[in-house]
């Protein structure tokens, strides 16, 4: 079995049967995407002051309102302290040692087409298994690839423009659609929301912007890759997706990061706005470098993701597969403001070696007849610590609201931990809220059955764990599901004694 097929995190069209039977268990011991390309980068020296923010804003030629917005956030951030309530433990982060802006030098003027892209970058993608050209040809998926902080390539724009969909880098949106940015920026995740979101508001470098006009069903799945490739460069993406009345969009986000020893901070913000009858599906595969088997290195991933169902009958669905990062801290949430709106959260979080994850969701029911579903699967191996933390809040006027939550944890290895912290707050007597959680060890007899049929212990674990997560994978777009299964197998390596 050639390694290349595993390396390829591609968007090939794969038929269902292949997925069902795709059990290729080539397991590699090294992190798949662990290499560093040497690209000559221009970046701001480490440190964070008001001046840093003015510089970022100036480099990006931002309008005055955005600079002011950033500065306000920075002022606020100075008064905040890092939250301590999660189960996450990590050495203190020195925010003055981080560089807050990096751009591939050869791209400062912005590429007009793939031909203009630094060949070294393209080579990096090649190694990561994301041949942009091939994707264009094969998959019909528009790709907005983020290499560090500056968007380097955007494709399929023309096709999207035909139906009026705006899909571009955040920086482009600031230049070309400042009114939309100004109208929606920070309306879902306010500047003041939390330490990391406030930091992001002050220093965000780039990200993606999506606007789906009224009644439009986005003709393709939108995809964006986020990678970190510069030593000591925190990455602070900001994504804003607006789905107007009756529109639909499915957005895919996948991350890998080159291997390195120093911890890197990643503090993204994602805001989703769904108007009346609109639907947004947001899928994530997070595979940042998790650190080595001794817990050295790895990405610190502090993410604030939130969507609002602003209008009636709106729908927002988060699906995430979190296998990477040394530390994961994220709670993709939905504010169910419109009547009959619905929110979903489907999550797989896997921690191996010394990884820590504290993840979950907040479902805030404000409108009447609002529904939310939470399915969370946590897998802890090695010394991994995995916490589900969720809030279901039923406000006073949210008549006939419904929530169902199911949180299952699978433990492998007696140094691992699984924790479940659901918060349920109900203020309406017609609401129904149900939460169930289980924690158990991987079944000895299931392992024995697999081994008796000739499947190695490691493959058996991977098989059983994939079965455990099946409900979530079903929610992923097909090509993502394939990748998710592979990631899970790779991430579990070394977890079976």
């Amino acid at each position: 079995m050639p390694e290349a097929s595993l390396l390829k995190i591609g968007f090939k069209i794969i038929n269902m049967e292949t997925i069902e039977t795709d059990l290729d268990s080539v397991l590699k011991q090294e992190y798949q995407h662990g290499f560093v390309t040497d690209v000559d980068e221009s970046f701001l020296p480490p440190g964070l002051t008001e001046q840093t923010i003015r510089q970022i804003s100036a480099i990006k030629k931002e309008p005055e309102f955005l600079l002011e917005w950033r500065l306000k956030a920075f002022e606020r951030w100075l008064t905040l302290r890092e939250p301590e309530w999660s189960t996450i433990h990590h050495p203190p982060i020195n925010y003055q040692e981080i560089s807050y802006y990096a751009a591939p030098k050869s791209l400062e003027d912005g590429p007009k087409s793939l031909d203009e892209v630094d060949p070294k970058l393209l080579e990096t993608y090649e190694k990561l298994g994301i041949p942009i050209e091939e994707q264009k040809a094969l998959s019909g998926i528009a790709v907005d690839a983020v290499f560090d902080s500056v968007s380097v390539a955007t494709t399929f724009k023309a096709e999207l423009e035909k139906v009026g969909v705006i899909f571009c880098s955040f920086s482009e949106a600031v230049q070309n659609h400042p009114d939309l940015v100004q109208k929606y920026l920070g309306t879902v995740v306010p500047q003041t929301d939390n330490f990391f979101a406030t930091l992001n508001s002050a220093v965000f470098s780039d990200g993606a912007f999506v606007y789906i006009p009224k009644g439009v069903r986005c003709p393709m799945e939108l995809s964006s890759y986020f990678r970190i490739n510069a030593t000591n460069t925190g990455q602070f993406e900001r994504t804003l997706i607006i789905a107007e009345e009756g529109s639909y969009v499915s957005y895919l986000e996948g991350c890998t990061a080159p291997q390195r020893d120093e911890n890197q901070l990643h503090a993204a913000v994602v805001e989703l706005v769904a108007m009346e009858g609109a639907e947004i599906r947001y899928s994530t595969i997070q595979n940042w470098y998790p650190g080595d088997e001794n817990g050295k290195g790895g990405i610190y991933n502090f993410v604030t993701k939130r969507g609002i169902c602003k209008g009636d009958n709106a729908k927002i669905s988060w699906t995430q597969v979190e296998t990477g990062s040394a530390v994961t801290w994220k709670y993709p949430s939905v504010i169910l403001k419109g009547d009959n709106s619905s929110g979903e959260f489907y999550s797989v979080a896997l921690t191996n070696n010394y990884q820590q994850a504290d993840t979950g969701t907040k479902m805030t029911h404000i409108g009447k007849n609002t529904h939310s579903t939470i399915i969370s699967k946590g897998i802890s191996a090695g010394h991994g610590q995995n916490a589900y933390r969720g809030l279901v809040k039923i406000a006073k006027n949210a008549d006939n609201s419904r929530n169902f939550s199911q949180c299952d944890s699978l433990l492998m290895g007696n140094k691992s931990g699984a924790h479940t912290f659901p918060y349920i707050e109900v203020k309406n007597p017609t609401a129904q809220v149900e939460h169930e959680a289980t924690t158990s060890k991987i079944g000895e007899d299931q392992l024995f059955l697999c081994q008796q049929r000739g499947i190695s212990a490691e493959d058996a674990v991977s098989l059983i764990v994939n079965g455990f997560c099946k409900e979530i994978f079903k929610k992923l777009p097909m090509e993502f599901a394939v990748e998710a299964r592979k990631l899970l197998s790779i991430s579990l390596e070394g977890s079976v004694g």
Partner: protein
């Protein structure tokens, strides 16, 4: 400048400490002083404190409650009878504002190997018998209310069962508050020790003599169960709606011991029940059952924590809540499985009925697990009565109120059924009926 209640407690302590039981005991003196220092240092918790997220105790924190001291006045039989208590087949101890009143002392004597005494008495005549355990399960600084109780500890019960001793009748500790209007705090302290293989049942009941009195009950109970010991422990709280009630129970369990707790909360304006269990040796088992019903402006907060510290222990928990009128319920149950505690079995469930527009329920079941060979689950639901069932009953001729009461009754009956003593079951059902009809009347008035 006005002095704060904390400062008042500190100065009150300086004033009364010479008169507290056991003033000549250096070990007790140290503990009391540590406790008052801890209160001085920490003050009362704010809602920002995770453990108090859903319960605002500023009404307690902002008032100085005069700690009740000395010995109890005599209670008139007439008053006691008016409470309608039934002591059939039980061993009663009556406390007035936390102080033991020897009402039945002539006629009652526990069987051999069992001592049931007033704590004040023990601290005076035989303090050595409690030295090893008293306050030892309640480290200072962990809970300001426990510290307050420890500093001013005046009376309560001391129950000791020697090896293999069995007490068949339930020991009923009845805590009656006689307070009229003045803000006082009664702080009974209970110590229950069951030696190897001993078996007993203890009931704590809390009653107000006056309906509108505004006082604080701050009771602390420490329980130690040695190997194979078995204890049933009931709490029935029916205080009036203007009182505040803090009930802290800490249990230490040795190998193969069994602890069954049942906590019924019907009364109290603001109630906080803390129940902490430590399963300290293999194959210890505990079951925690709770029923709480809040109406009017009642706020009832149940905090439980089970620490699985050693392998092969089992814990099971079921708390049911009924929230009506402006009632608020809180459930916060934590199961903590320590790294050594393989083969842990832990099950936890909290189900709640939310019956009114202004009622609220906040529930937070938690599993924190650091061992891998475990089987743990928890569940929580908030819902309402099945409207189809209500309709069915109405179609059979019941009026709506009756139909709803019947369904509520069947929801809570499961918890009452778990009580092993018939006379207590009957009393619980009576209380329940009174409570339901009181709610119904209020509805009719509104």
């Amino acid at each position: 400048m006005m002095t704060t209640p904390v400062e008042q407690y500190v100065s009150e302590f300086a004033n009364v400490k010479a008169n507290l039981p056991g003033p000549a005991l250096p070990w007790l003196d140290i503990i009391r002083k540590q406790a008052i220092r801890s209160i001085d240092r920490n003050g009362f918790p704010h809602r920002r404190h995770e453990e108090w997220k859903y319960t605002d105790i500023s009404s307690i924190a902002d008032t100085f409650f005069q700690p009740v001291q000395g010995t109890a006045p005599t209670l008139l039989w007439k008053e006691l009878n008016a409470l309608g208590l039934d002591f059939t087949d039980s061993y009663p101890m009556i406390f007035l504002d936390g102080r033991y009143t020897p009402l039945f002392s002539d006629s009652l004597k526990p069987p051999d190997g069992i001592s049931i005494e007033s704590l004040q008495h023990v601290l005076t005549v035989n303090p050595e018998s409690v030295k090893k355990h008293l306050t030892r399960f309640s480290e200072t600084g962990s809970n300001v209310f426990t510290d307050l109780n420890t500093a001013f500890m005046n009376d309560g019960s001391f129950i000791y069962l020697s090896k293999n001793a069995k007490m068949t009748q339930p020991i009923q500790l009845v805590f009656v508050s006689t307070s009229q209007k003045e803000p006082v705090v009664s702080q009974p302290r209970n110590l229950v020790i069951l030696a190897e293989g001993a078996k007993a049942s203890v009931v704590q009941r809390f009653i107000s003599l006056n309906q509108n009195s505004d006082y604080l009950t701050n009771v602390v109970t420490e329980i130690f169960l040695d190997q194979h010991a078995q204890l049933e422990h009931l709490v029935i709280q029916e205080e009036n709606f203007s009182t505040s009630h803090i009930n802290t129970i800490r249990v230490q369990q040795n190998k193969q011991s069994h602890f069954a707790s049942q906590v019924f909360t019907f009364g109290g304006g603001l109630t906080r029940n803390n129940l902490d269990i430590e399963l300290n040796a293999e194959e210890a088992e505990c079951s925690l059952d709770g029923l709480f019903m809040a109406n009017g402006d009642q706020h009832i907060d149940n905090h439980t924590r089970v620490d699985h510290k050693k392998p092969s222990c089992t814990s099971r928990e079921l708390y049911k809540g009924v929230l009506d009128s402006n009632g608020r319920g809180v459930f916060n149950g934590k199961v903590y499985v320590h790294p050594d505690a393989q083969q842990t079995k832990a099950f936890q469930k909290n189900t709640n009925l939310l019956l009114s527009k202004n009622a609220e329920m906040d529930t937070k079941p938690q599993l924190e697990i650091y061992a891998d060979d475990v089987s743990c689950s928890h569940g929580a639901t908030v819902g309402q009565l099945d409207e189809k069932a209500v309709f069915y009953l109405r179609s059979r001729g019941l009026d709506e109120t009756k139909a709803r009461d019947l369904l509520i009754y069947s929801f809570v009956e499961e918890m009452i059924q778990k009580v092993r003593f018939e006379q207590l079951r009957d009393q619980l059902r009576n209380t329940l009926n009174v409570k339901l009809s009181a709610t119904d009347e209020r509805k009719e008035i509104n």
